[in-house]
Amino acid sequence: MSKHRYLPMTEQDEAEMLKTIGVGSVQELFADIPPSIRYSGVLPISGRLDESALLKHLRGLADRNADFERHACFLGAGLYDHHLPVVVNHVISRSEFYTAYTPYQPEISQGELQAIFEFQSYICELTGMKVANASMYDGATALAEAAALASGATKRKRVVVSRAVHPEAREILMTSARGLGLQVVEVGCRDGVTDLARLAEAVDDDTAAVLVQTPNFFGGLEDIRAIEPLVHARQSLLVMSVNPMSLGLLEAPGELGADIAVGDAQPLGIPASLGGPTCGFFAVSEPLMRRIPGRIVGQTTDRDGKRGFVLTLQAREQHIRREKATSNICSNQALMALSASVYLSVMGKAGLIEVARLNVRKSHYAAGRLASVPGVTLPFGAPFFNEFVVKLPAGTDVTALNAKLLQAGFIGGYDLGSAYPELEGHVLLAVTERRTKDEIDGFVRETEACL
């Protein structure tokens, strides 16, 4: 192979190094690999491209995707097209952050450690919980970890989950429940929110936790004040999955009696990026502190008494506890947690409220406009934040509708019939602060024309 810009080795270096080692060739360093399992051919993988050709190739692939810059996005379902403040990308592009690993050496990692400490503080402040960790892979895996924590804490093997929780989060919960030997019981919905009567029946003395999401997958706000007593009456734990942006306006899980609050920080300055990387967050009440999965940063002092930060409570973790660890999570989504922290620093106390209010206003305007289209109705009466369900006229082909909307420059909503057979012809729409009145009106006009 000819020279490569990432490889500093010269022929002279190589010769000197081989001499120091005392071998005649690099191949001799692989003599311990039995010949029968050595690979002798050229790997059948994609070929090498020079920098210019690679940029062109990837630009070509990127350009074949319909992105939110060229299309007005009305799709949400857990991933949203919010404004990304310019400074977020500038901060996470500082390579002191993104080329570091987990801060194992605190003396030279105070920046990352303080950033995580501030992230934990932000999550506690938003959720009203006492303790938050350094992040999880995403909101969906965080929910599954919450079920595992609840099972360990209560010594119970049954978890109850609302069908209004994101279908993908429930799928992951099912996968992980098989590994942990947990029984998962689903509770149905009524009017777009968890059916409280059925929930009351489902919770019993073997129930480790009740898992609800609010705003739920349909956008509807769950009545947590009614759910909480049903859960705690059986000494079960209340796990709430929440949209962190909505917490600019909505009551904090900690104030509503949640034992564990999880969610995905994607709305906080993280691009949708085909679904990842985003950033799960995980917060608990104080009694559960030593059971929380993942990394946690704590404040301490150095030998001179100066404030500093370290990874702490590591006795929970896999590298110490091995098979007795509370979770197997090792690396997390630190850089995305940093994005969320920068976003919250930018928005501040007033900005988070204002952006949340814009989401409420725009989505309610859009819902009102859509409901005026003949044949289109809003099937659910529950209050919502920035996402809601519309029912299209009987026989509407949602796939065909979305294809036509795409032609007109709109990314249409989520076809609920795919995950909820009983909701065929229902579409889930998200309207963020990024959508202008013109875009909303245009979307409504185009939808009407396509029906």
């Binding site: 490569h4 990432y6 490889l7 080795m9 190094m17 120091t20 080692i21 360093l29 059948p44 994609s46 090498r48 690679l54 940029l55 692939l61 995707n65 319909a66 939110f68 390579s95 570091a100 690993y101 050496q105 003396e107 030279i108 990692s109 400490f117 934990q120 503080s121 303790v131 938050a132 895996t141 595992a148 994101h166 993908e168 992951i172 590994g179 600019g248 909505l250 691009p271 085909l274 679904g275 990387p277 946690i296 100066k306 500093g308 590591q314 896999q318 590298h319 506890r321 098979e323 007795k324 197997n328 920068v342 620093s345 930018v346 501040g348 106390k349 952006v355 814009l358 209050p383 934040f385």
Partner: protein
């Protein structure tokens, strides 16, 4: 020495803003007319009120108190801290990759799906596997996914196998993942050469063996030369072989896990494929499997249809289900794909050759000054024991802290657990001979300091933003957030 850095919360001044939001161009309804008062927040979240310049200066100062690969040599064993190419960062930020949604119509994300499909196939070819899932978000996540696949495989054959075997040198995630996947862990010792003890392995396997998890080269940096025999022992007992890909940087294009007899493999793209470590993540931990395990892969996979178009394949009735929302850490996968294409097959082979050359060179030069528990060639990393320093009251931890004063990130220390006062060094292929030489000279200097002026080492670091921190108090009296407003 730097002064204490204020928390962003401590910089807040009421009335300052750093945001810019559009004016409301629709009906300005009151929130309480849309959402019942009982659901609304009674007390606003006490977020800091700062200006944009405050935000930038704050995080810039934090970045200056952090050390990444771009700051200097980072020979953290088992983590493959190679150079993180800048083109990876640029392309992942293209709007056509960063601003797309997995639920968009398939025809509107053909470029993304093609990239995923190609990457799946490249990684399968690289590892010698039949098919790859790109869903897992990290190495440990991949381990758990792989073990769930192994579980599903055994169950499909009507077998209940409850035990996962790991060597005593394995990564802590291996036994932890086994537990989360519902298995018991059996630990087998290493022999005098640092390899899996075959007699112990023979004694450990049985009709309850689900799998052996192995890193090869192992965490001592040694290639398990009897891997074919190991595979036979496990397969003869009806178990499967799991390959922990943390150390794949040693063998690309040289030996493939599939050819060694492994049935399931994960790769850490943030290690081997240079996607950055991000201060602890996000990474990606794709999992590849042999033909018999393909039906169990997580849903959906990416396929190329007969008409040449790409799509999601949901029709996988025997799938273990989902392991992560949406389609994995796509932004990381874009970076890994860009990396593979900067090298191509011959280039990746050269990467591994040079990673191994660099490690052997460092090992040869440092051997006179440290105990070398396992002589002979190493692969991409090697271990030393710092036990000789103890004569002077200096421990490996102290030597590591002294390295900070010279602008290095120390190696991994105290792992693997079976080497006393262990230092695990992984230089990677992107470091020059001058860098390696300078680090080696510094290590030798620290050995001399330990002999002549141990206090200098014991009190290190001297030049960092903070000195050694009180970790015991941090754990005993946890202060885990700034409690602003709580």
């Amino acid at each position: 020495m730097k002064p204490e850095k204020a928390l962003i919360f401590e910089m807040s001044r009421p009335g300052r803003v750093a945001y810019s939001l559009p004016e409301c161009d629709v009906t300005e309804i009151e929130t309480s007319s849309a959402i019942p008062e009982a659901m609304l927040r009674r007390k606003p979240a006490e977020l800091p009120e700062v200006c944009e310049v405050d935000v930038i200066r704050h995080y810039t100062e934090l970045s200056r108190r952090n050390f990444g690969i771009d700051n200097g040599f980072y020979p953290l064993g088992s983590c493959t801290m190679k150079y993180n190419p800048k083109i990876n960062e640029d392309v992942a930020r293209f709007a056509g990759f960063a601003k797309i949604h997995p639920y968009q119509p398939e025809e509107s994300i053909q470029g993304a799906l093609e990239l995923l499909y190609t990457l799946q196939n490249d990684l399968a070819a690289l590892t010698g596997m039949e098919q790859v899932t790109l869903q897992p978000a990290a190495g440990a996540h991949g381990e758990w996914t792989g073990l769930m696949l192994i579980r599903a495989y055994h169950e499909s054959r009507g077998e209940t196998r409850t035990k996962v075997i790991v060597p005593d040198t394995s990564h802590g995630t291996n036994p932890a993942s086994a537990t989360v996947a519902g298995f018991e862990t059996v630990t087998v010792p290493s022999d005098a050469e640092g390899m899996v003890d075959l007699e112990a392995l023979r004694a450990a396997v049985g009709s309850d063996t689900a799998a052996l998890m192995l890193t090869n080269p192992n965490t001592l940096g040694l290639f398990e030369k009897r891997i074919v025999e190991i595979a036979e022992i496990v397969h003869d007992a009806g178990g499967l072989l799991y390959y922990d890909g943390a150390n794949s940087n040693a063998i690309m294009g040289i030996a493939r896990p599939g050819d060694m007899g492994f049935d399931v493999v994960h790769l850490n793209l943030h290690k081997t494929m240079s996607t950055p470590h991000g201060g602890g993540g996000p990474g990606a931990g794709p999992v590849g499997v042999k033909r018999e395990l393909v039906p169990f892969l997580p849903r959906p996979t990416v396929i190329r249809r007969e008409d040449g178009r790409y799509g999601w394949d949901w029709d996988r009735p025997r799938s273990i289900g989902r392991v992560k929302a949406y389609s994995g850490n796509f932004g990381i996968l874009v970076r890994a794909y860009a990396y593979i294409r900067t090298y191509g097959p011959e280039g990746l082979r050269r990467v591994s050759e040079l990673a191994v050359l660099n490690a052997n060179y460092m090992r040869s030069r440092l051997s006179p000054y440290f105990d070398v528990p396992y002589p002979g060639v190493c692969k991409h990393e090697f271990v030393l024991s710092g036990k000789r320093l103890k004569e002077h009251g200096v421990r490996t931890l102290d030597a590591a802290k002294r390295l900070l004063d010279f602008g290095y990130h120390p190696p991994t220390i105290y792992f693997p657990l079976n080497v006393e006062e262990c230092l695990m060094i992984e230089p990677t292929e992107t470091e020059s001979k001058e860098t390696l030489d300078a680090f080696i000279e510094t290590m030798i200097r620290i050995v001399r300091e330990a002999e002549t002026d141990p206090q200098l080492v014991l009190n290190a670091p001297h030049t960092t933003a903070v000195k050694r921190l009180d970790e015991a108090t941090a754990a005993r009296k946890p202060v885990l957030n700034c409690s602003c407003g709580v």
